[in-house]
Amino acid sequence: MTTVALLGNPNTGKSTFFNCLTNQYANVGNWAGVTIDQTLGNIPKTNINIVDLPGICSLTPITKDEAVTVDYLLDNNPTDAILNIANACQLKRNLLLSIELLELGKPLILVLNMMDELSQSNVHYDLDILSHRLGCPVRATAARQNSGVDEVRACLSNQTTITTSDPLKLDYPRVISADIRDATTQLVKKHRLSQNFARWLTIQFMSDNDAVVKYVDEHRLDTLSEGRQTYREHHYADQIFHVRLTFIEDTLAAATSFTENRPQNTVTTKIDRWVTHPILGLPIFIGIFWFMFKLSFDWIGTPMSDYLNTLLSGPLSEATNHWLTVVGALPFLRSLIVDGIIAGVGGVLTFIPQIFVLFACITVLEDSGYMSRAALVTDRLMQLIGLNGKAFIPLIIGFGCNVTGIMATRTIEQPRERLVTTLIAPFMSCSARLPIYSLFVTAFFNQHQAVIVLSLYFLGIVIALAMAKFYQLVFKLKDASNFVVTLPNYHRPRLDLVIAGAWQKGKGFVKKTGTVIFAGTVLVWLLSNIGPHGYVINIDASFSAIIGHWLQPAFAPLGITNWQTISALMTGVLAKEVISSSMIVLFHLSGQTSLVTTFSTLFTPLSAYSLLVFILIYAPCFATLGAIKTETGSVKWAIYSLISSTVLAYGLSLIIFQVGSLF
C-alpha cells in the first residue's frame, strides 16, 4: 500500500482533486478552511491511498486545522509521497510551502492547479524549467474541469516517480549551512533519525516552527534545544525565509514568459465591484440571506414539504393502519407503528426538502467564494464585539447545523476568539429547529410565515452577538487586529458539487431520523403509554404526564401551560427535531395537520412566540454539546453551555410573555 498526502495552500482545490482521484466526496468550498480534518480515500483499481489534509500556507501552524497537517507530517513520517497542489495564479506564495515540503526529501509531485484561471491572464510558465529547478515532476491541471487529472494519476502510478527523490538543498548562508550540517549529523548519530528527516527538522527548528519546537522538546532532542538561543539571536528564521523567497523569485523569473493576451477585467473584479462595496456590501449580504430563506421556506422548500406531508399522514398512514388491522396486529403494536413511528418520524421527515434547499444554498455560498467576502463586509460589525469577520463563517454554517458550525471555528487564529465563537454558535438557529417553527407558524402566523421565522433567526444572531460582547468583557479580550482574509477568484458553482455538498451535509439529518429521532419517538411513545402501574389507556396517567405536570409551575410564567409541550421540550435535548415528533405522539395525533388545529386551543400567538424563543435558545442538542466538548477540550464548557443557554432562554421567554401580556 502506498500513501500519498495531498498538501498545499488553503483553497487551492485539494479536496476537489481528492474527489476526482478517489471518486469520493469530501466537502469542497471556495474559501480558506473548508477541510478541517484529514480524510482518507483510495484511488480505484490501485493500491494507492490518498490523504486529504487541511490547507496550510507554511509548515508553521497558526490555526488548529493547520496543526492537524503539521502534526501529521511530524508523526512517524506516515506518508510515502506528497502531492503538492498549488494555485497556478499565486505561484509565488504557494512555492514557499513547496520548498519546505521538498526539503523533507519525500517524493513529491507539484501540481499547478487552476490553470484555467491562469490562462485568462498574460502569464505563462515553462513547466520544464520549474521541474528542473525544483527537482520534482510538475504537472498542470484544472481539477474543476477535470483536465490534467489523468496525467497526475498516471504519474502517481509510476513507481519510480514516487519512490526515489533527493531533498531540495538551498544555498543558505555559510554559517547556517554549517550549523544545519552539524545538527543533522548529531541527530542522526544520537537519536537515530533518518538523514533527510533530521535535516528537515533542523531547518524547521531554526525557522521557529512552534510545532517542531514542541516536538523537539517532547522527544528531548537536546542537540537542537541547545542551539535555540544562537538561532534566535542571529535571526536564522528571517535569513532562511529570505533565501527561500529569493530562490522562488529567481526560479519564477526564469520560468515565466508573458503572452500577448491582455488581461481583461475579470468576472471576479466585476462581481466584487458590487459585492465588496464599502456601503452596499452589507445590504447585499443581507439580501443574499433573505433570498436564501425565501428559497428554502417560501418558494421551493415549503411547497415540497407540504406535498410530502399530505402523502405521509394521509395515504401512507391509513394504508399501514388498514394493513395492520387486516393481519391482526396487537392494538398496542399498531398504535406504536402508526401513532408513534409513522406520525412522529414521518412528521420530521417532511422537512427534508426545506433542509436540503437550505444546505444547497450554503454549499453555493461556499463553492462560489462568497464566504470570504461575507467575512470582509461583516468585519467592522464583529470588531465591536471583539471578534473578526472570520467568526461570521462558522455562524452562517451553524444555520445548517451547529455541530459543523462549531467545527468550522478551527480556522480562527486566536484561541480566545475561537472559544467565544464556539460558545455562541449554538444560538444560530439550525435546520433541526425548523420543523417546530413551521408547525407553530402555520398555526398562528399564517399570513407572515417567513417574517416570523426570519425574526427567530435574527433573534438568534442578536443573542449570539450580545453574548459575544459579554464574553469580550468577561475574558477581557483586546481589540484584536488579527484579521487576514484572502479573496479568491469566484467560481461558477457546479451543479453536481452543489447536489453532492447538500447531500453530504443533509445526510446526517436523514440518518438522525433513522436513529436518534426514531429512538426518541419510540421512547416518548412508551413513556406516554406506560405509567407507574403499567400500560395505561388514559395518557394522563402516564410517566410523560407525571413529569410534565411536575414541571408545569415552572413553565406557567412563560405561557406554556400544557404538560405535553413541557415533556416534548425535555426530549429536545436528544435532537431538536424530536420536539415536533414528541408533540405529535403526546397529543395522539396522526400528523402535522391535526397538530396545527390542536395548537390553536392551547396557545395564543404570544405564548406560541414565547415558546419558539425558548426552543431557539435553550440547551443545545447532545451532538452540539459533544462538539463543544471536543473543540474546547473540556467537558466544563459543554456543561456551562447547557446551563447558561437554558437560563437565558427562560429569562428571555419570561420577559417576552410577561411584557407582551401587558398589551
Binding site: C57, L376, R380, Q383, G389, Q414, F483
Partner: protein, 72 residues
Amino acid sequence: MEIQVSVNEQLTVHCMDHLEKGISRQLHRLGIKPGTVLTVVRRYPFHGPVIIEFDDQRIGVRDAVLQTLTRR
C-alpha cells in the same frame, strides 16, 4: 501619526517588526516582506478593513495593520 490612504494608492511595506507576531507571520506567508508594493483597492467606513492587492492576489486586513505596515 495616522496616514489617510485613499483607494488606488500604492504603498510600500517598510517594516513588519511592530506587528503582533501572529499577524506578521500570516502576512509573511502570503509573500509580504519589506519592499512589497501594496495597492489599496477598497476601504470600509468607520476604520473597517481594507482590501489590498499585491502579486496578483487580493486580501483583506484591518486598517490598523496597513497603517503599521506602511508607516515610515
